[in-house]
Structures are given as structure tokens and as C-alpha cells.
């Protein structure tokens, strides 16, 4: 085919065979582009609809499908002026809250998770099963004491800690079984399986005890906790992929483990950090259920505001669309900026999984 001198190719060959090994046959090229462009339209289409709905009047929305501003229908800024002028305070506040909470939680989760992942990869742990069993038993006993028998929680906690230390030294001499790194990893990661609805009310009660309801701290802490498993999962394999010789030579040079981690290892795992950061940021930015329970007015976040547009008059599509647009826009911008890192990062994290 290619390279043969001056033999005219048949129509069939011109259409269906590759002109050279590094590119596609014309028919194949058309087919591939068609499918890809089609799916691109599928991805963008709904968002386009959302965008134009934010410029429609209620009568235009209810009256039937109108597709093109200025051609099909008269666009209006009513929804936008309502959201940003009339109730501006109630739109900007959740937005700022979302930004603060998502960023803070993401940084915290990535930091704590990366630290833990590094430790789980480089340092050998042996956790005695006896210790775990005793711990859990005492935890349950403490909770029962506080809930059912109204023992003040400080006393119960102190007693539990004392008993724990006491039992630990005796039991650990008797039972030698221990859990290693893989088990600890699995335990941390498996917490992702837990449906949030199971944990929501107890977390609410916990924050209520500390008078932290409807504060940023509550949501930041909760989001950090919920997303730690993902960070540990993804970062673990980055760190495993870094050649250990680099760190060993650093140690020989006198670097402690912490310095090695921050100065040498983290920069090497840049793309993984970027990918994990982006993923966790998206998860925090878009989270609904926990924010619903733990916030009222002060810490209200954007997903709640979007959902709240469904009132007694039915969903107010025009307001909802405008809110969705301002929610999605910054995330798209960040994603475009980081997109190279994301793909590479998620891949490497997923390979060893």
C-alpha cells in the first residue's frame, strides 16, 4: 500500500485503507469523528439548555420548547437580576460558603490523606487485633453508658481510656494476631462504601453537642472525613511508584521522614496530587446530603440553594438554571487548566488500585 510507487489505488482502497500506518482510513476517520462529535453534543447539549433557560421568562419556559435566543424567544435578564440584585445576599453567601468549604476541605483531605498514604506505603505497621477488639468494645460501652444511663461523657471517656490502657498491656501479651498495612488501608478505603444516609444523623448529633452546627468547620471536617478514603486510595499508588532509592539517599544525607516527605516526595507526586485535588474538589463542591443536614443559613452551600428553587410553585427553572450555570462555570475553568494532570494522575492511581 503505502510506499508502492505510482500504483493508482482503487476507490475502495482510497476510502477504506489507511494512507499510512499512523493515520486512519478516510471512512474510518469520518466515522470516528461523527461518533465523537455526537457524544460531545450529548455532553454539552443539556448545559446549553440550562444556559438558555436562565434567560427565559416563566411563560416561555411553560409554553413549550424554545431553542434559540433572539430567534425563537426574547431573552430576558429577569432571573439573573432577581438572584443577584433582589436577593443578592442570599445568592452570594452560599456561593462564598461553597468556595471556602470546598477549598478548605480539599486541602485538608489531600494533606492528611497524602500523609497517611505515604506512611502506609513506606512504614510497616502492626496493629494488634486484641487492641482493636478492646477499643471497639470500650467505645460501644461508652456510648451505651452515655446514651442509656446518662453518664456524663467526660467521665465515661476517661474511664474508657483508663480501661483501654489496662487491658491492652495484658491482652496484647496473650493474643499475638495483628493487622498489617494492607488491612489498615482496606479499612480506611472501605469507609467510602458506607452510604452517607447511615452516618448523617449521628454526625448531626455530634456537632450539636459541640455547638458547631451551621458552621463552616462542621462541613469542612465532615467533607474531609468523607473524602479521605479516596485520597488515600489514589495517593497510595503514586507514592509506591516513586523509586525508593531517592528517599533512601535522602535519609543517608540526614533527612528525617517528615522532611523527606515534604521536600522530596510531594514534588515528585505533583500530577497525582493535582488529579486527586481536582476530584475531591468536585466531590466537595457538589455534595448535597450532608450539607442539607448540617447547615441552616450561615453555612448553606450552593447545591442546597439549587434544590431549594423547587418550591410550592414547582421548580422555578429559570432561577435554578442560573444557579447551575454559576456553579459549573468555575469548575470547568479549573478542569481545563488542570486537565493534563487529571488524566495522567487518575490513571496512575487506578493502575495499582
Amino acid at each position: 500500500m503505502a510506499g508502492t510507487a505510482a500504483v493508482p489505488r482503487s476507490l475502495y482502497a482510497r476510502l477504506f485503507q489507511r494512507p499510512d500506518p499512523a493515520s486512519l482510513a478516510p471512512v474510518a476517520k469520518v466515522a470516528v469523528y461523527t461518533v465523537l462529535v455526537f457524544w460531545a453534543l450529548v455532553c454539552i447539549g443539556p448545559l446549553y439548555w440550562v444556559l438558555i433557560t436562565s434567560f427565559k421568562q416563566p411563560i416561555t419556559v411553560d409554553g413549550g420548547p424554545y431553542y434559540f435566543p433572539f430567534i425563537d424567544f426574547q431573552p430576558t435578564l429577569d432571573a439573573w437580576t432577581y438572584l443577584f440584585v433582589e436577593v443578592g445576599r442570599d445568592t452570594v453567601r452560599p456561593y462564598v460558603n461553597s468556595v471556602i468549604i470546598a477549598l478548605a476541605a480539599t486541602f485538608a483531605a489531600v494533606f492528611i490523606g497524602a500523609l497517611a498514604a505515604y506512611a502506609l506505603v513506606r512504614i510497616r505497621f502492626q496493629v494488634k487485633i486484641a487492641a482493636i477488639v478492646i477499643f471497639l468494645t470500650l467505645l460501644v460501652a461508652t456510648i451505651v453508658a452515655v446514651a442509656a444511663f446518662r453518664v456524663p461523657w467526660t467521665i465515661a471517656a476517661a474511664a474508657a481510656i483508663a480501661l483501654f490502657v489496662l487491658f491492652l498491656s495484658t491482652a496484647s501479651r496473650r493474643f499475638k494476631g495483628a493487622l498489617g498495612n494492607a488491612d489498615i488501608e482496606f479499612w480506611i478505603i472501605s469507609n467510602r462504601i458506607m452510604p452517607p444516609i447511615v452516618a448523617v444523623l449521628p454526625i448531626y448529633l455530634m456537632f450539636q453537642q459541640f455547638h458547631l452546627l451551621d458552621t463552616h468547620i462542621a462541613l469542612i471536617a465532615t467533607y474531609t472525613a468523607v473524602n479521605l478514603p479516596i485520597v488515600v486510595w489514589l495517593m497510595r499508588d503514586f507514592f509506591a511508584g516513586i523509586p525508593i532509592e531517592i528517599e533512601e539517599s535522602a535519609q543517608v544525607d540526614g533527612c528525617g521522614k517528615f522532611r523527606t516527605f515534604f521536600v522530596i516526595v510531594m514534588p515528585l507526586a505533583r500530577s497525582g496530587l493535582a488529579a486527586t485535588f481536582m476530584l475531591v474538589l468536585i466531590l466537595c463542591w457538589n455534595e448535597y446530603l450532608l450539607a442539607l443536614f448540617l447547615s441552616n443559613a450561615n453555612a448553606q452551600t450552593m447545591p442546597i440553594l439549587v434544590s431549594a428553587q423547587n418550591g410550592t410553585r414547582g421548580p422555578q427553572w429559570w432561577y435554578m438554571s442560573a444557579l447551575i450555570v454559576i456553579m459549573v462555570a468555575p469548575v470547568i475553568v479549573i478542569a481545563v487548566a488542570l486537565q493534563k494532570h487529571i488524566a495522567r494522575g487518575i490513571l496512575l492511581g487506578a493502575v495499582k488500585g
Partner: protein, 378 residues
Amino acid sequence: MAIATTLPVAARAGNGFGDWAERHSGRIMVLPAVLIVLAFAVFPLIISAYLSVSRFALAPGGYKLSFIGAFNFRRLLVGQQQYHFLGTFSAFGPLEWGVAVLAAAALLYWLYSYLISGKLRPMGLVGRLISAGLGFGVVLLTLATIVAGGFPGSLMTTLVYVFVGVSIQFSIGLALALLCAQPIRARNWFRVIFFIPLMVTPVGIAYTFRMLADMEKGPLAPLRFALHLGEFAWATDPWSARLVVLLGDTWQWTPFMFIVLLAAVEARPHEQIEAAKIDGAGPFQIFRHVTWPAIAPVAATVVLIRLIEAFKIVDLPNVLTNGGPGLATESMTLHAFIAWRTQDLGGSAALGYILLFVSTVTCVSFFNFGVARARRYQ
């Protein structure tokens, strides 16, 4: 997941704080994560366990919880709410009996082969028994509620969302990744555009799809007459309603599959592909012998991640149909959410626990039998 070689513990003499920190560096590094998980996962699990065996009632001064044992669980599995959770059963015909017997035989054979494999371990046996038991239960439920013509409950609906949804998303994501890995221009543009659906908040996606699926004023309304669907309303038929939920779910999560699989496909060893092409291999053979082994571990992991998240689906069925028509689109989280909204905290916690059990068994089974096998390609 073998641990890479560990660093030697620095044999530091010295009693300064820095040296103490160095000796215990492992524990210090891991401690924050462990504490947080304890506080936000283990503690709530214990409280929820207590809630699931009690009844919540308002009382002067606040509320009171009364212990009622396994009542909530019994009500869901064999009691008054069985039609809601498991579904309405129809009688087994010969087809159903045949399939049930076949499934039982297959599972028993699988267990038997493990018993005689020589690698028997008690934990392994227990795990396999649980997996087999749950698997057989699901088969029976499917036969009784879907095949034989009954009505599936929230458990079956959730499983349909999970398995059918993840399969569709994986297939489309893989197809897109393979196409995008071809020598085409603008690959980066496609990558970014395909990634966008993942970034919209699930509640927003749910409302967006409700708008799109509206056959009166949504953008697809003219299609209805063009395709002569006329009087058909997707929201009145259980399966079409579930299909619309799946469409929304697919739109949202296919990008995730696509991004990861594309990176995996791009990381294939090029020399092998070149060699195969020179040997005259067609595209299917290349896929089977070069591409698939290269991406199998990644594919398995990404499916596992997606499985874990898929069990929690709630926003789409809630917003699109509120769980209707009848109970057709209600997932387990939605079922628990509705129960919670009407103060049935015990029932809600019981549902949450059953969901946790089912998703844990499914994901761990998939990990042990799917991911591990895929890793063998490495």
C-alpha cells in the same frame, strides 16, 4: 497490594522532640486520618446500629427512643413493608424453576471447587458463603419480581441501577476511549468536553434531566410526535421511568470511565501494537491480545470505584419521579430518605444498614474475584 520496600527505621539515639517524632513518624503520619475516620465513620455506624433497633418518637422535652429489637428489619424483609423493599412476588413457572436450579448448581460447584482447591482458609470460606448466599438471593428475587411478572422493590431497583448502569457506562466509556485513542486531532478538546458532565452537581443534573425529559416543554418534545410516540409518557411505565433515570446516571458518570480508560489506552505498549499490525492483526485481534490485557487492571479498578458510588444513587430518582410510578424508580437510599423525612428514623437506619451490607458484599466480592483476576494480566 504488596508493600514496596519500607524505609529503615532511623536508629536515632537522642531524646529530643525531633528524634521522638522521627521514631514515631509512622504513627504520627497516620494518626490524623485514623482519628477522623473513627470519629466520622465508626462512631456514627455504632449510633446508627442502635437507631436501627429502636423506634423514634417525639415526646415532651425532645424525643425518646424505645428499643424494639429486630422489628425494623423484620418489617422490611418479611413484614408489612416487604412489598416496598423486596417487591411483590409472582409464582414461579417452569422457566423460573429451571434458572433457579441452574444458579444453585453453579454456585454450589463454585463453592465445592474452592473446598477442594487446597487453598482453603476459614475467612475465605465464610466470605464465599456470604457472596454465594447473597448472589442466590438476588437471583431468586430477580426471577420472582422481574421475570415472573411481579413488581420489584427498592432493593431490586437499586441493583438494576447499579449493574445495568455500570455496564452501560463502562461500555460507552471504553468505546469512546478507544475511538479517542485513534490518531485524530483535537483529542485534548474532546477530553475536556467529555469530562464536563462529571462536574455538575448531581442535584443540578437531576433537575436538568427533568427539564430535558419533559415531553410537553422540554427540547425533545417535538421528537415525541416525530417518532409517533403520541400518548406514551415515559413516566407512567416502570421500565421506561427507570431507563430515564439510567440515562441521567449514564450522562453523568460515563466521563469518569472515559477519562481513566483513555489514559490507560494511551499507555498501551506501542511496540506490541506495531508488532501486531506488522503481523497483519486486525483491530479486533489487537484489542483482544494487546489492548485488553493492558487495560484490564485499570478497568477493573474503575468499575469497582463506580460500583461503590452507584449504590448510593438518590438524586435522580428523587427529582425525576419522586420514586414513582408507584414504587418503580425508588432506590434504597431514596427509600431511607423518605422514611427519615417522616420521622421513621429506625426504619431509615435499618435500610441504611442493609444497603451497607449489600454494597459491601458486592464490592468486596468484585474486588476479590474481579480485580484480582484482572491483575493477573500484569
